[in-house]
């Protein structure tokens, strides 16, 4: 059973390979993709139970002893992320059955999603820094395909910029790994943590820490490096946007959290201070963007940037409350961003536009959609019983404990901006005088709306049931605060 942690990576990979053999059989593609994702979900649920009962799971491939072979490590943080990524992928695939056109479906759309999930789950699970680069490339390569699939003019134009930015960040990743290797002489993440502690983090390690922040910041969209994100993410169709918005930036955020809690823990007055300042600037710039646009896609996309800032602020505080809050908020954001993107997808499908000024009065014709959207919007802003509340509360509590009053107050203030930006969509699209819309069939509407409703339901349960989730989050935070647990699981008793 020790191989269990490889299943969430291997299952989507094998199914994707099989699905590539018959791209034109659309129904088989759909069924195959669903089976792949459901088995992945079952495997990652088992893994969650295993990690909860037996502690961190680690395996070193090829039976090499730990620092030499490639290690795969599944601690609570990574298994929670794997589980929620798979969940989002299932919902998005279900939504795609209705939303994605025939041409895309018969040109490797589902295999691309499965390959991307392979890369995402792999990046969450790997315990080897170069292997993380490889999994990043796996998920990026499939994301290139997903963003350009369809070949519309906007997509081609934006995918060129997207590819260029990611090629540069990948080259920087290789450079950073090379520097790290030359200083530390190992690539195994647990071993790196040990060796960095031994050399007592000289200046060059701090330089490498900042380089890592740049590399992962480009993927995770932190302050000066988020410029490419809004227009690139707006180009592909809604399900792809939901998948990207929910998962891809989170991989960058996870990588920052992992490296900054495991490797670079000795010079926190510089590295974590920098991370905190950048995360605050990220929140501010995201807030400005979220209020500036009248395009529903852009508003939610800028909300991704705000969320990245909030999570990283929690990660930069390095105490139990803030790290627990970060994990809570990370999972919450994966769920709620997916739900919101799918909901605005329904709105766009009904009204035929993404411009708020051309919408209005939908509450009369689609009341259920309106109220579901309102719940999701409240959840995003963190109105108490819903899912965003507990994470933000813990992050702010952690911020106060560390004495960062202004940062914490700013996060509270940003909740209001978030609420305003999403309620604007509610006011413009659902209130006001109804505008002429071409009605879409009931079947089409339900095909789009049901997955979104289920996802909002899950996020509500996640919020209300947070009491039961606390042990899991505490476990994740404890591992991040005590790298020795992680190191011991990988390298054994040494």
């Amino acid at each position: 059973m020790i191989n269990l942690l490889l299943f969430p990576i291997l299952l989507p990979f094998f199914f994707a390979m099989i699905l590539m053999l018959f791209p034109k059989r659309r129904y088989l593609q759909r069924v195959g993709a669903l089976i792949a994702l459901l088995t992945t979900l079952i495997a990652s649920s088992f893994l969650l139970i295993k990690v909860k009962s037996d502690g961190i799971q680690a395996i070193t491939l090829g039976s090499w002893p730990a620092p030499f072979g490639i290690s795969m490590v599944s601690d609570m943080l990574s298994v929670l992320l794997v589980l929620s990524s798979t969940l989002i992928a299932i919902i998005v695939v279900w939504y795609s059955f209705t939303s994605i056109d025939k041409e895309r479906e018969s040109f490797f759309y589902y295999p691309a999603i499965l390959f991307m999930l392979t890369g995402v789950n792999g990046a969450f699970t790997t315990g080897d820094i170069f292997n993380m680069f490889v999994f990043f490339e796996v998920l990026l390569m499939s994301s290139y395909l997903l963003i350009v699939l369809g070949g519309e003019k906007v997509q081609l134009r934006e995918s060129i910029k997207y590819i260029l930015v990611n090629v540069i960040s990948s080259a920087l990743f290789v450079v950073t790994v090379a520097y790290l290797y030359s200083v530390i002489g190992t690539l195994n993440m647990a071993d790196i943590a040990v060796k960095i502690a031994q050399v007592n983090q000289p200046g060059i390690i701090t330089v490498i820490a900042v380089l890592f922040l740049m590399v992962f910041g480009l993927k995770g969209a932190i302050f000066p490096l988020y410029f490419w994100l809004p227009s690139s993410y707006a180009a592909p169709p809604i399900p792809v946007l939901a998948l990207f918005g929910a998962l891809l930036t989170k991989v960058g955020v996870y990588a920052i959290m992992r490296t900054y809690t495991l490797f670079f823990t000795l010079d926190q007055s510089f590295t974590h201070e920098l991370l905190m300042i950048l995360s605050i600037l990220t929140i501010i710039s995201g807030s400005i963007g979220a209020l500036a646009y009248f395009d529903v896609k852009k508003i939610i996309i800028y909300n991704i940037i705000i969320a990245v800032g909030v999570i990283l602020f929690g990660a930069s505080q390095m105490n139990t409350a803030a790290l627990m809050g970060s994990v809570f908020y990370l999972i919450h954001d994966i769920l709620i961003k997916g739900a919101l993107f799918l909901l605005i997808g329904v709105i766009i499908a009904i009204t035929g536009t993404s411009n708020l000024r051309k919408m209005g009065g939908l509450i009369k014709t689609y009341p259920m959609l309106g109220w579901t959207y309102l719940i999701a919007a409240f959840g995003l802003a963190g109105i108490p019983p819903l899912s965003g509340f507990i994470g933000k509360l813990l992050i702010v509590q952690g911020g106060f404990e560390e004495g960062n009053l202004w940062g914490s107050i700013l996060i509270l203030g940003s909740s209001l901006v978030v609420l305003l930006s999403v309620i604007r969509i509610f006011i413009y699209a659902f209130w006001g005088t109804p505008v002429e819309i071409t009605p879409i069939s009931k079947k089409h509407y339900h095909g789009l709306f049901l997955p979104a409703l289920v996802l909002v339901g899950i996020s509500v349960v996640y919020g209300i049931g947070s009491e039961w989730l606390v042990p899991y989050m505490e476990d994740a935070a404890t591992t991040m605060l005590n790298p020795s647990h992680y190191i011991k699981a990988v390298l054994g008793g040494a």
């Binding site: 170069f130 680069f133 490889v134 490339e137 990026l140 390569m141 290139y144 350009v148 070949g151 003019k153 906007v154 081609l156 134009r157 995918s159 060129i160 590819i163 260029l164 090629v167 540069i168 990948s170 080259a171 920087l172 290789v174 450079v175 790994v177 090379a178 520097y179 290797y181 030359s182 690539l187 707006a234 395009d295 993404s354």
Partner: protein
Amino acid sequence: MEIVMSFVIGFLFMAAVYLMLSKSLLRIIIGTGLLSHGAHLLILTMGGLDGSAPPIVSYGVTDYADPLPQALILTAIVISFGVTAFFLVVAYRSYQELETDNMNLMRGTEEND
């Protein structure tokens, strides 16, 4: 030897940045190629360039070349080859669709494709 390589890598990065800042899409792609070459050479240099040690470990040999940088470089080359090929295809396709390879004309907004 490391010093010479550092200059070569620096030059490659400089040329890559220069090319990527130009307007023509093809030059940008060549720039990304040079950038990845620079990164690969950097990995090789970081492993140490002492050419005397044998590459094979057998019993009794204590001084051998580090096998890891080559493995890393091979992986990175394959990946950047794939990405460059894909990038070229996307560039050609968008040249056909958008009828330009000038990045200034590809700015575009929501209303103006």
